[in-house]
Symmetry: C2
Subunit: 107 residues, 2 copies
DNA sequence: GTCACCTGTCAGTCTCGTCTTACAGGTGAT
DNA sequence: ATCACCTGTAAGACGAGACTGACAGGTGAC
C-alpha cells in the first residue's frame, strides 16, 4: 500500500478527490483527468493501483441523459508511519511468507 | 519521502535497523548486507535514499583494530498518513512550486 | 606476500512502472 | 451521418530505478 502512495501523481489524485468531496461535488474519470492534466488511460492505471490498495472506490453510474459515468470516491484511511510499525509489519510479512512455504511448499 | 518508504527492501532495512537498535547492537554496512541478503552496492543505494529522506544517518568509525566501519542508525520519525494530510501537503507543494516560478523565473 | 576483513564508487544490465497513442463500443443532439 | 460526450482496454515507447560485477584503496593476521 505504501507503494501506492509512493508516487506524486497518485498523491495529487488523492488530494483532488479529497477537496472535491469537501466541496460536496464529485468528478468522473474524464473530468478528473482534465483537472489533473493527465491522460485518461494514465489516470485509469493510477486509479486501479489506488483501488487495489483500498484507498479509493469507483462505481459506474448512469447520468440523466443515459451516459455512463464512472465516479470515484475516497475511502477513509489513516495509518501511522514510524519505525516500530514498519518493523512489526515486516516481521509479520516474513512470518506469513514462511508459513506459505512451510504449509503449501512444492517439495 | 514517501517515495523512500515505498519499497519493500527499504522497509526491510528500516526493520532490521530498528530491531538491531532494540537489541542494543549496531551493524555496519557489510554485516547488514549479509543479514538482509543484499549486495553491498545495492544496500548503499538504498541507504543513500533513506539518508536523503532523513530516515537514517550513517557515520564512519574506526574499530579497535583500525578498520574503518560505517555504522547506520535509525532516526526517530513518525507521520500520520491520511487523506487530509496528503491534501494539505500537495497544496503546499503546489504553492511553493508556483512561488519558485514567480520569484526565480529565468525570464 | 597472501588472506580475510572493511569502505567506496562506477559502468553496465535488466526489469518495472510510467505514459502516449490508438482502438472499439455506447449515448444523445444536430 | 456526424459530432460531442463518456467508458474501457491493448500495444508500444520511454525512462527511472533496482540490481550485479568489477574495480581501487586501506587494515591486521599468518
Amino acid at each position: 500500500m505504501l507503494g501506492a502512495v509512493g508516487h506524486a501523481q497518485r498523491l495529487r489524485i488523492i488530494a483532488e478527490l479529497y477537496t472535491s468531496a469537501r466541496d460536496g461535488s464529485r468528478a468522473h474519470v474524464s473530468e478528473l483527468a482534465r483537472r489533473l492534466g493527465l491522460s485518461r488511460p494514465l489516470l485509469y492505471m493510477h486509479l486501479e493501483r489506488l483501488e487495489a490498495a483500498g484507498l479509493v472506490a469507483g462505481h459506474l453510474e448512469l447520468s440523466e441523459d443515459g451516459k455512463a459515468m464512472k465516479y470515484f470516491e475516497l475511502m477513509p484511511f489513516a495509518l501511522t508511519l514510524d519505525a516500530e510499525t514498519i518493523a512489526e509489519t515486516v516481521a509479520r510479512d516474513a512470518e506469513s511468507a514462511t508459513d506459505a512455504n512451510t504449509k503449501g511448499g512444492i517439495g
